[in-house]
């Protein structure tokens, strides 16, 4: 899976004693559960249905109520959850063996029927947000109560990765969807308590979770606080214990607050500003290269993000399958001017479209880029639009450069490549089309990680050369927590996972 220079950069909070306790499963169980943790998340959870969203905050919250078949660690290793083992039988068949002795919150046992039900439901009910990802599933068959075989219409190497985001439901949920999700049950470490839409959700510890010693608190509350300054204030006032998506500028204030700790880790996210590749003048490779050369990424990283970002060396961020180090893109305004001259592009004027308030400091960064491009004679019109309008404009092709980012969910680059660099995926977005890349993406869908790594490295190189996007920086995820929390892990995927976290 490539080199993992960053995997050591796992940031564990908490005392040595807590770490020791975590290392010995069962030790915590003897101590018993106590206390309550309140987390403040930046994004509102929209649904209790694990198949009906692609939101990071919903994934975080619902991971406490439902277990998936496969979990993913912070260093991007896939580890057993409800599935004990999984392996490909051939390019289009996966076999999962299931954990025994697991039961749902109402006491019914977890079996292969749950897996068959959950997978067929997400494939067949096309109303569900995740349905389109699972259309490649041909069939799901149980093999006794504790094994399942999944056959797919074409190779589906990223299936285990996708399954980390899909909580398993009891087959009884099928009788009446709406009633079930009023008071849902799963096999997870917490039971559902109550939910006020857009405000908060209460969870209570499940007494008989299959992982011993977990959870470590009695009650868990997630509050949804989109306003950054409010999240920070609530943490500083001691009202909540953990917040996500802290801005670099807030770190100083938070570090100066007694009882508060700040944690950061390189995120599984590359910022990517994509070009409208069917539109003049940016469909000219020389113009794209010139724009790339004129942007001083180090200024953005050091001066605007205060070092809380990393230079990009590959479209796929480090740690993930498909990453390889291609070196940083240079900053060379002189060469940019030459290239623009060669391309015969004078008096260039570009529309740079932003989705309002979506990415931290985006307006500042866009203004900085406008100034940098101004230096080489390119005029940038910043168009900071409401999200729905911005996406409408993108579909219509009314932009030159579009400010966006890609968090590599679900820990596999197949989605990113398949969506943005195939003809059908990109036709209403960037208008990218390259048969070589298309073929490599298809070849990279097989289960064999060695084959995939090799195909993806080839794609990386082609994209690096073609510059269909500007990759300005990898994001750094910043969290702030109360120093009472034990064993909190700052996740690279922005999840806030608290089942193994205790409170003093």
């Amino acid at each position: 899976m490539g080199t993992l220079p960053l995997s050591r950069r796992r940031f564990l909070a908490g005392s040595g004693a807590a770490l020791a306790a975590a290392a010995r499963p069962g030790a915590a169980a003897a101590q018993g559960r106590r206390g309550e943790i309140i987390a403040g998340l930046s994004e509102r959870m929209l649904t209790l249905d694990p198949a009906n969203h692609y939101s990071i905050s919903s994934t975080s919250v619902l991971r406490h109520v439902y277990d998936p078949l496969v979990d993913v660690t912070n260093d991007d290793r896939f580890v057993p959850a409800l599935a004990e083992t999984w392996r490909p039988l051939n390019n289009t068949t996966w076999r999962f063996t299931l954990r025994r002795g697991v039961s749902f919150h109402d006491g019914t046992p977890f079996t292969a029927d749950s897996v068959v039900f959950t997978l067929k439901r997400v494939r067949d009910n096309t109303k569900l947000i995740k349905s389109f990802v699972y259309q490649d599933i041909e069939d799901v068959q149980k093999d006794g109560d504790h094994a399942v075989t999944v056959t797919t219409k074409r190779p589906f190497g990223s299936l285990p990765a996708h399954l980390t985001m899909l909580g398993m439901l009891p087959p009884s949920a099928g009788a009446n969807d709406e009633a079930f999700f009023q008071k849902p049950i799963g096999t997870g470490p917490f039971r559902f308590g109550s939910w006020t839409h857009g405000d908060h959700i209460d969870l209570v510890a499940s007494p008989k979770y299959w992982k011993p010693g977990i959870p470590r608190v009695e009650k868990l509350t997630f509050r949804f606080i989109p306003e950054l300054s409010t999240r920070v204030s609530a943490l500083r006032a001691g009202e909540i214990h953990v917040i996500d998506r802290v801005w670099p500028d807030m770190v100083q204030t938070l570090k100066g607050t007694a009882g508060v700790k700040v944690l950061d880790t390189p995120a599984l996210e590359a910022q990517r500003w994509h070009f409208q590749l069917a539109r003049d003048p940016v469909k000219d490779l020389r113009v794209r290269k010139a724009i790339s050369l004129a942007i001083d990424r180090n200024v953005i990283i050091k001066d605007l993000l205060l070092g809380y970002a990393r230079p990009v060396v590959c479209p796929v961020p480090p740690g993930l399958l498909g990453h390889t180090n291609l070196g940083q893109k240079p900053y060379d305004p002189e060469k940019a001017r030459q290239l623009l001259k060669q391309a015969g592009a004078s008096n260039l004027s570009l529309d740079f479209v932003l989705m309002k308030d979506l990415y931290p400091k985006q307006l500042e960064i866009a203004q900085a880029v406008a100034a940098m491009l101004g230096e080489v004679g390119v005029k940038v019109n910043i168009r900071n639009l409401e999200i729905a309008t911005a996406r409408e404009q993108r579909t219509a092709g009314n932009y030159d450069l579009f400010f966006s980012g890609w968090a590599q969910m679900p820990h596999d680059p197949d989605w990113y490549f398949g969506q943005w660099f195939t003809k059908t995926g990109a036709e209403k977005l960037t208008r990218f089309s390259d048969p070589r890349v298309e073929q490599l993406i298809a070849d990279g869908r097989v289960p064999d990680p060695k084959v995939r790594q090799q195909k993806y490295e080839e794609i990386d190189r082609l994209l690096w050369e073609e510059e269909p996007e500007i990759w300005p920086y990898y994001t750094v995820a910043i969290y702030a927590i109360s120093d009472k929390l034990r064993n909190f892990e700052a996740r690279r995927d922005y999840y806030v996972l608290l089942h193994e976290v205790g409170i003093a």
């Binding site: 096309t126 006032a237 001691g238 309008t389 890609w406 990113y416 059908t424």
Partner: protein, 277 residues
């Protein structure tokens, strides 16, 4: 309205086929007038449709927000009337004194400080530094203090200025002079006679502010993570969650009509000379 609900629900990199499929399920492939007709028919049956973003009945999503919305609006209204009228009366009676100027400055600040500025400063002072009051959320009366003060600042200032100017006008009129000449005590003149006559424009403005407080507290609600209707409707608009938007519109239009009818009725009670015909 431009924008595509399915696109807002699906992740940024969802294929167009998924967008089309979801729009079909949401009933958005029909021509607009059919959609609207269907909506009106179900509203008549008490069904406001399903919220696109929450996948729950729109009416429930909206009604869930009512308690917090009403508490905040009512408290802010109370503060507005209490402080707005008192500051205005003092400023008018003591026209040209230090009280009057202090009132003016206070009112100017109330009118020109952006809500978020006041809100964040209050949170930093009373929530973070002094820790007297909770910073955000909705759990008990202590949670109401900071948001309602923030929300009341603007209408209080407006009401104070209006009270002052209306009172000054009336205090100059003959029947007041007559009252004074007859030897009525000054407080009686001001409170019984003048203030009563100044209420009509005040009442109008206060009536209008109630509506603003109910649905327009967007910034206050987001600064204090207050689960009210103002933020809900704006989020719903951005999300193109049409059922929720329509439900709130119907609800708030009703509230407006009722409140302003009440204000009109109050006019005739306060001033029997006003009649409608």
């Amino acid at each position: 309205m431009p924008g595509d609900p399915a696109k807002m629900l699906l992740p940024e990199g969802a294929p167009q086929s998924a967008v089309d499929e979801l729009n079909r399920h949401l009933g958005l492939r029909e021509p607009l007038w059919i959609q609207y007709g269907l909506f009106l028919r179900s509203v008549a049956r008490g069904d406001f449709g399903q919220s696109f973003q929450y996948r729950s009945p729109a009416l429930r999503v909206v009604v869930e927000r009512l308690p917090a919305t009403i508490q905040l609006a009512a408290t802010a209204m109370l503060l507005t009337v209490l402080f707005g009228v008192s500051i205005g009366v003092v400023a008018a009676v003591r026209q040209g004194t230090a009280y009057d100027y202090a009132g003016t400055v206070l009112a100017v600040l109330g009118q020109s400080l952006p809500n978020f500025w006041l809100g964040i400063m209050l949170i930093l002072l009373f929530g973070v530094t002094l820790r007297w009051l909770p910073t955000s959320g909705f759990q008990g009366w202590t949670y109401l203090v900071l948001p309602s003060v923030t929300l009341a600042a603007f209408p209080t200032a407006l009401v104070a200025r209006l009270t002052r100017s209306s009172l000054l006008e009336i205090l100059g009129q003959e029947y007041i002079r007559t009252g004074r000449a007859k030897g009525l005590a000054e407080p009686v003149v001001v409170l019984r006679h003048a203030l009563k006559n100044a209420t009509i424009p005040l009442l109008t403005v206060i009536g209008l502010q109630i509506g603003t407080l109910l649905g327009g507290a967007v910034i206050t609600e987001s600064i204090f993570a207050w689960p009210g209707m103002g933020k809900l409707v704006v989020d719903a608009i951005f999300f193109r969650d049409f059922p929720v938007v329509q439900t709130i519109l119907i609800l708030s239009a009703t509230i407006f009509v009722v409140i302003n009818l009440l204000v009109d009725v109050l006019y005739t009670i306060l001033d029997p000379r006003i009649r409608y015909g």
